[in-house]
Subunit: 327 residues, 4 copies
């Protein structure tokens, strides 16, 4: 299902090569200033352009078609849409018989009995993340005074991103990356014991982003090899400030007022220029496949702002549950 | 909030030193055989007993108080409770002023304005995982023909678990661990694009388990350093069987029929025997703290069955959404 | 499914002749005083005792088994249970073949493929309303300063309740009734346009109460025969006070600060002492049936406090969504 | 919040005088044929045109902007939008100070702190029911073999609808009406005991429709004055067919296979041509108000297809929960 959130609710729709993609955001307090201009910086960060990114160019002009009146949110659902312009009408139907490895072709065709829109990945396309970014912009407004900041920490195993991209282009193979996200200015108390822990909601949304295969909070996987005396963060004052931050700003599923930190692993795009093996249903045999189309060699480059959006939406939902929903 | 699930729904309640902990499971098909005996193996796996585990002993006798008639589920909500017997009535109130590092003392006291039950962690205690395990047993019944299996892969950074525990006892410091979970026999098609991806639901529930700080699916964090041609799993036949399984059995958020694999990082218990520093509200200064009580040196030892339960509940929910809810 | 509510969430469980029935309430603010004593008045109002009520006597002693510490709610889920003591072990299995008219025997047997607990109606029994009443008591605490009051306006078409009951006993036939509910002290603004309108939530919960077949707000069905100039309530001051209250305190799905008023129709209990016709599966023919057991001739007598609970739960959910969830 | 449904989920957005109104429908099985043509009949039924209906004319051309590929649903969310063309840019801001009686002006202005879009009722306008009707068309496709049919039974207390309208025009006062809805072809077993009873879900959605003030199932309010032996429907055969249908096709919250029947009361439109009294915030006094604009004298005329949509959405959600969600 395409909806997330209890008090700050996001619903996305659209397909990569359909007419439009969009998002409805429900639960943004009335009276929040909101204009097309507000989306600009984050949308720009998601756009391709660097070496190794897709040549597909979309204007990504957000249109606010509901929920805003005289420049301010009304309390009604906010709908933001993006028209798809730069689509190509090649035939994607053959993917039903020759699924691309690493892609969702096989599972979508099976799950939806061959009725899914195969063009550019259809509804499952990374194109939909433009809608997540738009929702993230609104979520960040709800999180006034709280800063959510993600950055690409490494690509292809290298912290020198430019060099990694140059290598990928040279080798003509796609690469993965690692993103770090930090949220500062959070109040103590967001998140619930157990099912609605801060980690639960953030990870739920982060894994809604295509290509993410791991997440760790604070010391994360390294914590599995630490002792308690190493890992515990000494509390230094009455506000709960800690000397270290191995917990990543969360204890018992609840924010502790220190910076919330997490890292995510982004896999290399499945659409590598390299020839791969897959099951060819026409030949009824394993056969080599060359994936055509316009693709990113390193989607991790464009993903930090999407991860920010995921974190912001989860935290806005927790904050709104805590504070209630109007003005 | 204490509820998870859309079609297979789990609600937990109780406190570490309260009268009972329990769980309501809604959405289990009518006619499923269910008896106290069914819970035995999994509950036994969660029990302490090994070196370095807590001396607190609970009978952990499940009582099925609703939803079962003549040995079979009725389609009505199933309630399973566990009476707490082995609780100790020490005073925990001082934790409000001297919060234990790494614990939720500080955040709970702040979030609930000093009204939370502090005894043994109250509702936020690992004691509640007995209820998750019970729900997991029922979820596994829903997942007939599907096997969910988790094991401790390392403790304290060592794959020799016994040695790691002996070291922890010798050093008198708590240690973390790494758990691997594999689910086999899954159909193609569980999970939805975006918000209800299989990874989203599993991670949501896994992070509901106390002490978990990271999760990765398939190649996980290693994928961030692979190329597309290395990472993509060649598809070998018409059923979608792949030559490798870097995807961990999930493409585009949807199960692909190969074994679903994930790993989780368990942090060392905050209750280490070592003296730690924290803010002492009585002294209005940072001061050393020695944590008393009955604690585990390596909670990861007892956690695999809890992780299995988390995975089983998430997958049962996805399966039930797919197949509907009766007979 | 057995759960209702977004911000104030209620889950019920149990069967008429099972070990216990109970309720989990999640979302009650921490620090709310709560004791067994608080439930007494409302539980007493639900008890049988008058002419024409069932001879089944239950102690209805609530046990608070989680969520309360030192007499105050902790912010964790509150569980209240009631042990069933006065059950009788007659055989109900024959109802699978000879369903009682007006009862749920036929639909439950069909829906749950013969696995439902048939004893005394199983999970579908009016016995479960004791759990709703308990949840209502907690909801009323959340609604501090707001008074929810329901009363029986007529029974068997007669406003003289005593006389109506005497007639029913004399005629040995069950009778229905009409309940009026008024909520005063509500703030302006509870409810949302469309799907979460105040009427939507209240009616959702009211129809969760067995035997309810109609609900109307304010002028209700009479409004269908009024003109706009008759029906509209003139607004008399800046607080929104109206001269009349045909709207029943709700405009556009949102409370307007005037008393919220609604009426509900309670059908006569299906278990009338009269002989009825039904399909007898054993004889494969329509045959007369005499319903045995201990039953109410006028369940409407005991229902007002249940209707209050339904309204209070719905309004507590709306209020909590508005104000957020902690102390 | 603007979303309804667990397995068949509907989210609406838009404002009366905004750019567009629309709906996202999630949970429609892949492979369902769907075209603009399918919406035509139901949209036509909702259109004004008869005596006493608004002179506002909208083309009501549905645009399917997601979820359909090659004329069939894909399993992804379906979005249908309607551009608003025939809006007028009068000033509605004065309604903040002089709220129209019976309208939501007062409560919206209060709830959303003066930020709501006041033009033509903004998000709370009956204009949004065009989106409900569109969702209803899709819901009816899900309910293949089940017929949902609503009709206007009376207007202004008169079963001669033409005469009633002529009277309303003559008297220049708005009138209410009564709608009857019948659903045939339903399977036994839709609905759950208690919170998700068939009546609960249907009434929840019916009260989401503006101007509805009452609902009754089967004998409804008349049942309150019947005896059990009169009200109970004798069961006539093994399929559960009953001799009468006082239950309206629902027992214990669950459909029994007989026609599901309910009636709803529609109040007269608040925008009567008559002069009314209200609080005039400018004058700080009660003052006469004449409501301008283009309005319906009898909105009940156009409401049957909206009520059908409400019933169809609720039943599609119950059916999908029962049968699961793919092709």
């Amino acid at each position: 299902m395409n909806t997330f959130g209890r008090s700050f609710r996001v619903s996305i729709f659209g397909e990569s090569h359909g007419e439009q993609v969009g998002v409805i955001v429900d639960g943004c307090p009335a009276g929040t200033p909101l204009s097309m201009e507000d989306f600009k910086v984050d949308l720009e960060r998601r756009k391709p352009g660097a070496a190794g990114t897709t040549p597909r160019r979309e204007a990504d002009e957000p249109q606010i078609v509901s929920g805003v009146y005289k420049g301010k949110t009304t309390g009604a659902p906010i709908t933001v849409i993006f028209l798809n312009s730069n689509t190509r009408s090649e035939d994607y139907e053959h993917l039903r018989n020759v699924p691309r490895p690493g892609h969702a072709d096989f599972v979508l065709n099976s799950k939806f009995a061959g009725f899914n829109d195969p063009r550019g990945g259809g509804h499952s396309s990374g194109r939909l993340t433009v809608a997540l970014v738009a929702a993230g912009v609104i979520a960040k407004k709800v999180l006034a005074g709280i800063e959510v900041r993600a950055m690409l920490a490494e690509a292809g195993g290298d912290t020198d991103i430019e060099r990694a991209l140059a290598n990928a282009v040279a080798k003509q193979d796609s690469i993965g990356g690692m993103i770090e996200c930090e949220v500062s200015g959070l109040p103590v108390g967001l998140g619930e014991p157990f099912f609605d822990s801060a980690e639960s909601l953030i990870s739920h949304l982060v894994f809604a982003v295509p290509a993410i295969k791991g997440i760790e909070f604070g010391a994360g996987f390294a914590a599995a090899r630490m002792t308690g005396s190493e890992h515990n963060d000494p509390i230094m004052d009455a506000t709960g400030k800690t000397a270290t931050n191995h917990a990543g700003g969360i204890n018992g599923g609840i924010t502790n007022g220190n910076p919330l930190k997490f890292r995510v692993a982004v896999k290399p795009p499945s659409s590598t220029p390299r020839v791969q093996q897959t099951w060819d249903g026409n030949k009824q045999a394993v056969a080599p496949l060359e994936v055509k189309g316009r693709h990113d060699l390193c989607i991790a480059l464009r993903a930090p702002v999407v991860i920010e959006a995921a974190a912001a939406i989860a935290l806005a939902d927790l904050l709104k549950s805590q504070t209630g929903h109007t003005g």
